[in-house]
């Protein structure tokens, strides 16, 4: 006979009260990231907005970050989760460097690592609420992939997250080709970002473009795009149709 009281069994299929915080819905979010392969490497573009619901609360959020020597990551979705992902990646790169063996993780490997993190979190019903773009060059090989909060991942010549899939990808399918120059790539990305600025409610007119080549990473200073409103149809749209749009 056991005279000591035993603790009641606390079985919970979903999780116990000792859970770490789980993201049920996002709070501060970043919108689309667009990425393309070009002649010398990869180009990524993202705006610098951090929306808080429908409020455009933060306008200087850097969503494009270098990872190690060979990769560039762009994050959309919950910003706090993206920051957490950056901590995981820092640990990964640190461990990789501590081997001090002359080898360093390439973009394909980093993408795979991210995919495992995202998918395993999804399986525990505690996702990292992000869609990520991972691009890079190693030993002349260009790589561009994406992974999202449910673990869906793939690679392609051009990728995007969020609204970028609906608005930017069609433009890229039409105008992307192998061996784009840097200038052509930037102009193409700016075309995509401008459409997103017109048509995505959570877009903000302040963006960065990042490039990665064999030589290294460059992230541009923040800048704004010109927008076009001087169409005659815009000046008096309801003339003759009062009460409409």
């Amino acid at each position: 006979m056991n005279s000591v009281d035993s603790k009641p069994a606390t079985s919970s299929l979903i999780g116990s009260e000792a859970d770490s915080q789980r993201t049920l819905y996002p709070y501060v979010t970043g919108t689309s990231v667009v990425g393309i392969k070009y002649k010398d490497g990869i180009l990524l573009a993202a705006d610098m907005g951090g929306s808080y619901g429908s409020t455009l609360r933060y306008k200087s959020v850097e969503r494009l970050k270098p990872v190690g020597k060979h990769s560039l990551i762009g994050g959309s979705g919950e910003i706090s989760d993206f920051q957490e992902i950056m901590r995981y990646l820092d640990d990964l790169i640190l461990s990789d460097n501590m081997w001090d063996d002359g080898n360093s993780l390439g973009p394909k490997e980093v993408h795979n690592y991210l995919t495992r993190i995202m998918y395993n979190r999804r399986n525990k019903f505690n996702p990292l609420w992000n869609s990520l773009v991972l691009g890079g060059v190693k030993n002349g090989q260009k790589y561009l992939g994406t992974v999202n909060m449910i673990g869906v991942h793939y690679e392609d010549n051009h990728v995007a997250t969020g609204f970028g899939n609906h608005l930017a990808r069609p433009l890229l399918r039409d105008e992307w080709h192998e061996n784009l120059t840097f200038e052509e790539g930037v102009i193409l990305l700016e075309k995509c970002m401008r459409v997103l600025l017109y048509r995505d409610r959570s877009a903000v007119n302040k963006l960065q473009i990042a490039k990665i080549t064999e030589e290294g990473v460059t992230i541009s200073p923040p800048y704004a795009l010109k927008t076009f409103w001087n169409f005659s149809a815009f000046e008096n749209p309801t003339l003759g149709a009062e009460g409409s749009w």
Binding site: M48, S51, S54, T55, L56, K59, S60, E62, P66, G68, K69, R87, D90, I93, N97, S104, S131, N148, V152, T161, F163, N165, H166, E183, V186, I187, E190, Y198, R199, D200, R201, S202, N205, K206, I209, E215, G216, V217, T218, I219, S220, P221, P222, Y223, A224, K226, T227, W229, N230, F231, A233, F234, E235, N236, P237, T238, E242, G243, S244, W245
Partner: protein
């Protein structure tokens, strides 16, 4: 593939910022031009300021469909009323008609209205009709989702007896500020000024508006910025010796200390060059601050 982007079956909603302001001699009505379906901008150049009669206009917010049908009914009734009365309808009558529709159909409608106009009896008047059908005569009225960001602004900036120019500038500034912070508002600023002389429509695209906090001057392209070259470095700093060979550098958002990733030294980075921050030069060889790590050291490949 992403969750929750454009819900194309979501109701068309004018997130909106709408404003109506009285001044010495008339009224100025203002609005943004964005109509959205979920997170997608269905129309970036909408006209939310609708004519009811020659001297009375209506700003619409909330459900696009509901506000359109209400304004159509009010215009129809006002037209008949004008014929029967034999002279232009007053602003008060127009506002009351709109109120009756909003109040008696309150369970079905989701639209906030601002009525503004000029008549010979009362001069310039503004009436606000929020959800539920309350009628409030006000010296100025704000509505729509973007108005949340303007309560403080108007508390400070509003004054009685402004001139026409002051009133119009106030409205344009206010809508522009709301557009800067409300995702559901955007596009151009439209204004309609009504007084004894008649009605004037105005159109302000974003290049005519001021830049607010953290907003930057629009450029044609990044390529233009890159080709104009770098500005002079900050005084008191000397360039990093590896500046011309190192191609890995970051542009800081604010020109504070950023880490040169390739060489892991605490150089202050400005524009497209690296400059030594003298205070940090003792930390040259190894780890930097923050989330950085030594992976390439001096002398190694």
């Amino acid at each position: 593939m992403d969750v929750s982007t454009g819900d194309f079956n979501a109701p068309h909603s004018m997130g909106t910022t709408i404003i109506g302001v009285t001044y010495n001699g008339g009224v100025v009505l203002g609005a943004d031009s964005r109509t959205s379906t979920g997170m997608y901008v269905a129309n970036r150049a909408s006209d939310k300021i609708t004519k009811l009669t020659d001297n009375v206009y209506l700003c619409r917010s909330g459900s696009a469909a509901d506000s359109q049908i209400v304004s159509d009914y009010v215009r129809y009734f006002l037209h008949q009323h004008t014929i029967q009365l034999g002279q232009p309808a007053t602003v008060k009558v127009a506002a009351n008609l709109a109120r009756l529709l909003s109040y008696n159909n309150k369970n079905m409608l989701q639209t906030g209205l601002i009525i503004g106009g000029w008549d010979k009896y009362e001069g310039g008047k503004i009436y606000g009709i929020p959800l539920g059908g309350t009628l409030l005569e006000q010296p100025f009225a704000i509505g729509g989702s973007g108005s949340s960001y303007l309560y403080g602004f108007f508390d400070q900036a509003w004054k009685e007896g402004m001139t026409r120019e002051e009133a119009e500038q106030l409205v344009v500034k206010a809508v522009s500020l709301a557009i800067a912070r409300d995702g559901a508002s955007g596009g151009v600023v439209r204004t309609v000024t009504i007084n004894s002389e008649g009605v004037t429509r105005n159109f302000y695209p974003s290049d005519k508006l001021s830049l607010w906090h953290e907003e930057l001057e629009p450029q044609n392209s990044l390529l233009d910025i890159l080709s104009t070259g770098s500005p002079e470095p900050m005084t008191g700093l000397s360039p990093c010796p590896r500046k011309d060979t190192c191609k890995t550098f970051l542009f800081p958002v604010h020109s504070t200390r950023n880490l040169c990733l390739k060489y892991q030294c605490s150089y202050t980075l400005i524009s497209n060059g690296c400059y030594i921050n003298p205070a940090m030069s003792s930390q040259e060889s190894g780890t930097g601050t923050g989330r950085n790590f030594a992976y390439v050291r001096e002398g190694q490949t």
